[in-house]
């Protein structure tokens, strides 16, 4: 348990550094540090599937963010209605924390095995699906609807961004504008 707490404190410190540091590249590196702390905490909680996926996605995000930020240093907008913004965020955090406290009270203790549904998966996977990776069997056999929704969300996001950021359409529109002018 103690290493999980240490890792969580490490992740929180990295997140605070990522928010507070002025340089955008250092902020990206701090976000990466928080992500790798999450990878190690997944490993200590004995979830190698999640750890592999998180590690790979983390590397990809880090590469993309560094490639995107290495040239551009975007300024942070800190001016404006800071009083209202601070009050709204404090009120939101207070509401979130109070509801989160109430929700956490009704959960079982962290780390205690809860064998209502997972017992079925553990006993039935090897017999009925013949897959030795139970996580994969749950993702793609027992709860395939979830994965279908996930894939649909990813597909829709990619299609949306691709149609907004594509190069050809924008250029032809600009050319048309120039011609009409």
């Amino acid at each position: 348990m103690i290493e999980i707490n240490l890792l969580l404190i490490f992740i929180i410190i990295a997140a605070i550094v990522a928010v507070e540091v002025k340089d955008l590249l250092s902020s990206v590196v701090a976000v990466g540090v928080a992500g790798f702390g999450l990878v190690i905490s997944f490993l200590t909680l004995k979830a190698p599937d999640l750890a592999i996926t998180q590690l790979v996605v983390e590397i990809l995000c880090l590469i993309i963010l560094i490639r995107a930020t290495i040239k551009v240093d975007l300024p942070f907008s800190t001016s404006g209605r800071w009083l209202i913004n601070t009050l709204v965020s404090i009120a939101f955090i207070a509401v979130f924390l109070s509801y989160g406290y109430k929700a956490l009270l009704s959960l079982p203790v962290f780390g205690s095995p809860l064998m209502k549904t997972s017992d079925f998966y553990l006993s039935e996977t090897l017999k009925s699906v013949h897959a030795t990776n139970i996580v994969s069997a749950i993702n793609l056999n027992f709860r395939a609807y979830d994965t279908l929704g996930e894939a649909t969300v990813l597909f829709a996001a990619a299609i949306g961004v691709m149609s907004i950021m594509r190069r050809k359409g924008r250029l032809t529109n600009k050319n048309k504008d120039n011609e009409s002018e």
Partner: protein
């Protein structure tokens, strides 16, 4: 050194040696998703990362030559349609997402019915998403000077 030509000779040589192995490792993780930890999501991103390593070492033009953008769109649509087709073909076994293929022996590569095929479909989706991330970055970084060039030519 010119940025478009990528990094130094050392990096290029090491990348030429390593990129293929990373690609193979990604394919291994995808195909063994139902036996060992991993699966379509992680393996697909590892395959995409091998291409990204190639791009970082050799520059943008080289990867655009090898993997054109219509191919990415094709891969992505193929992955999504394949996953949906697996779900619909489940009606042969009685219901949506039924695992109707022969199950085989556990710990063998061809076992667990439709799960390996679903892993491959998800991997195709993830590869295209990961590669698509590169093109997003390329477009983001290249967009402003490209417009200026076009207007200058006019």
């Amino acid at each position: 050194m010119n940025q478009n030509n990528g990094m130094s000779v050392i990096v290029k040589t090491v990348t030429r040696l390593l990129a293929g192995f990373i690609l193979l490792y990604g394919i291994h993780i995808v195909l063994h998703g139902h036996i060992s930890p991993g699966g379509g999501f992680a393996g697909g991103f590892i395959i995409a990362l091998s291409y990204i390593l190639f791009m970082l070492a050799f520059g943008k033009e080289e990867i655009l030559k090898r993997v054109p953008q219509p191919m990415i769109s094709l891969l992505e649509s193929l992955g999504a349609l394949m996953f949906l087709a697996i779900a619909v073909f489940g009606f042969f076994g009685g219901y949506f997402f039924a695992n109707w293929l022969p199950k085989g022996i556990p710990f063998k590569l061809f076992s667990a019915g439709t799960i390996p095929i679903s892993n491959v479909a998800l991997a195709l989706l993830e590869v295209s998403l990961g590669l698509f991330g590169i093109f997003l970055v390329l477009v983001l970084l290249k967009f402003a000077p490209l417009n200026e060039e076009k207007t200058k030519k006019k």
